[in-house]
Amino acid sequence: MSELTTAARPYARAVFEMANEAGGLAKWSELLAFMGAVASNEEVQTLLANPKMAKQVGADAFIKLCDKKLDDKAENLVKMLAENDRLSLLPEMSVIYETLKDEAEGSVEALVTAAKKLTQAEEKSIAAALKKRLGRDVKLKVSVDESLLGGAIIRAGDLVMDGSLKGRLNKMTNVMSH
């Protein structure tokens, strides 16, 4: 996992810088997400992992699979990745690209897992509080997990704020048992 990130980072950074200069951040974001989805398909992975296939053939097959959604630059990226045997990195690249893009745009994505469905007002107040804490615009992604019993867990990057009843109960168990 960490090795994949290390290998994917230079590619993602290169794509990001190119897109930033050309002003196509949003377009590349879509492209990478799409290519990442294609690359993480199980059949595609089996195909790409086949040692008998020549690198160029793999690249062509990948481009064909993408069904003309790729422009010249994207095709070049695929060819280069195929040459270095790094097509499997596309999902990772997409993730890193998004963080770079968020950083550049001064926003951050926060995953909120709540015990029950949040109202609009609640979402707004969480977003406002997070903005104050992180100093950035926050894009909220909300999901519901009833096993939390109450409260919510907020994740922004590596930072985790655990305000769930389940987390507190766990913590209490630890305090009592030590």
């Binding site: 996992m1 960490s2 090795e3 990130t5 290390t6 980072r9 409260g151 994740r155 990057g157 590596d158 930072l159 985790v160 704020m161 655990d162 305000g163 987390g167 507190r168 913590k171 209490m172 630890n174 305090v175 009592m176 048992s177 030590h178």
Partner: protein, 513 residues
């Protein structure tokens, strides 16, 4: 149903009241791999080097390798039940251990948790296990003796409070015995002791604790044990944890003695951790920083001046110096002192006590090699009487060794040589000492005086031991006041010499040994 000591209603109530119910915000990562006690974690972008990491099964880890996309950490304790994909949280705490006088009489592990089944330890302070040693300005020169009560050591290789003296020798040469005697001898002297057992059999540690209890030494001793069955990470950390506990006494203007038994095993444990963390191996497969591993530990043993103590205690303790004396132990293989770790530790310490297998087997116990054992500053810290009387012993023994080797080939020897040989034999016999029988300053002074003034020259070699014990018994019963004052002051003058001489003459004239 068995209840734990922590399950008393009041305690539970207090804990619930003190329980912090705020939402916690912590940096989290995911375990990528776990093998041989080494965990790789993805994420944890804010982790500090040496920070404690909390795993989801409740055990802790220590972040050692901070890389670009992953963190290498060692698990402190049990890593069964942890699996790939588990979360790992930062705690924001650099690894620390409880310190304070409350720990005395207890056996704890490398994290300071009691393992002697005597319930929780109520310490008030925590100190980080890795600390910078006191600087040049904060130190004071060594001028007080750290007496071990062992004749050969106190007379020939004296150690001052705040020094580091290495005990080195093969297996089964009595290294631990010397250390334990040194602890027992601190009774009533106000010196706090810490015994750090690294990679030893649990049965040996239990035996040592029992001996210390038997001689009433556990009252002022802390035992830090990382046994052979504990993870390598715990064995690697044990000396630092013990040192942090010793530093507490030093910083509060008290004197402490710490024994690391032994640093060879700690280096092995560190080598294991380093190799598993994929740090490049060097000589004997030790990592590149194995010298620093020991130098930063031993450098923390020091004597600090009163200003340092006053500043550290915020004016609570005034006008008192503090010290931490270390006896690190190194086990050699087949007497090979030129191996990597022994040479390192020899060069770091202020001297070494070299124990020899041949001497041990020929009955000279403690098996101290007088020629190879040195103390670099110790002389400045000897009591006056021992310094005056002990000087001749070392010379006698050194000359005797040389002559004994040489005279094996000679058929007849001149009068002077023969006398020196006879004297050497007797002094060697006089220097043997049973385990757990440390001598006080005054008793040691009488023994040395008897050797110097020729009182033992006409005693048969086989009878030297009996002569000595009879002499000490005589002095204890007939001259107890004089002996007490000598123990107390450690002074030496012509009057004292005359008194000692007349006492010994009286004793010899009785001929009762």
């Amino acid at each position: 149903m068995q209840l734990n000591p922590t399950e008393i209603s009041d305690l539970i109530k207090k804990r619930i009241e003190g329980f912090d119910t705020d939402a916690e915000a912590r940096t989290e990562g995911t375990i990528v791999s776990i093998m041989d006690g080494i965990v790789r974690i993805h994420g944890l972008s804010d982790v500090m080097s040496g920070e404690m990491i909390e795993f989801s099964n409740g055990s802790y880890g220590l972040a050692l390798n901070l890389e670009r996309d992953s963190v290498g950490a060692v698990v402190l304790g049990d890593y069964k039940g942890m699996s790939e994909g588990d979360t790992a949280k930062c705690t924001g705490r650099i690894l620390d251990v409880p310190v304070g006088p409350e720990l005395m009489g207890r056996v704890v592990n490398s994290l300071g948790a009691p393992i002697d089944g005597k319930g929780p330890v109520d310490t008030k302070e925590m100190n980080p296990i890795e600390r910078q040693a006191p600087g040049v300005i904060e130190r004071k020169s060594v001028d007080e003796p750290m007496e071990t009560g062992i004749k050969a050591l106190d007379s020939m290789v004296p150690v001052g409070r705040g020094q580091r003296e290495l005990i080195i020798g093969d297996r089964q040469t009595g290294k631990t015995a010397i250390a334990i005697d040194a602890i027992i001898n601190q009774k009533g002297k106000g010196v706090k002791c810490i015994y750090v057992a690294i990679g030893q059999k649990a049965s040996s540690v239990a035996g040592i604790v029992r001996k210390l209890e038997e001689y009433g030494a556990m009252d002022y001793t802390i035992v830090v044990a990382a046994n052979a069955s504990d993870p390598a990470s715990m064995q690697y950390l044990a000396p630092y944890a013990g040192c942090a506990m010793g530093e507490y006494f030093r910083d509060n203007g008290e004197d402490a003695l710490i024994i690391y038994d032994d640093l060879t095993k700690q280096a092995w444990a560190y080598r294991q951790v380093s190799l598993l963390l994929r740090r490049p191996p060097g000589r004997e497969a030790y990592p590149g920083d194995v010298f620093f591993l020991h130098s930063r530990l031993l450098e923390r043993s020091s004597r600090v001046n009163a200003e340092y103590v006053e500043r550290y205690t915020k004016g609570r303790v005034k006008g008192k110096t503090g010290s931490l004396t270390a006896y690190p132990i190194i086990e050699t293989q087949e007497g090979d002192v030129s191996a990597f770790v022994p040479t390192n530790v020899i060069s770091i310490t202020d001297g070494q006590i070299f124990l020899d297998t041949d001497l041990f087997n020929s009955g000279n116990r403690p098996a101290i090699d007088a020629g190879l054992s040195v103390s670099r500053v110790g002389g400045a810290a000897q009591t006056k009487v021992i310094k005056k009387l002990g000087g001749g012993i070392r010379l006698d023994l050194a000359q005797y060794r040389e002559l004994a080797a040489f005279s094996q080939f000679a058929s007849d020897l001149d009068e002077g040589t023969r006398k020196q040989l006879e004297r050497g034999e007797r002094v060697t016999a006089l220097m043997t000492q049973k385990q757990y029988t440390p001598l006080k300053t005054g008793e040691l002074a009488f023994t040395l005086f008897a050797a110097n003034e020729g009182f033992i020259d006409d005693v048969e070699v086989a009878n030297v031991g009996n002569f000595e014990s009879a002499m000490l018994a005589y002095v204890r019963s007939e001259k107890s006041d004089f002996l007490d004052s000598l123990n107390e002051s450690g002074d030496f003058s012509d009057e004292i010499a005359a008194e000692m001489k007349s006492t010994l003459e009286d004793f010899k004239s009785k001929g009762a040994w």
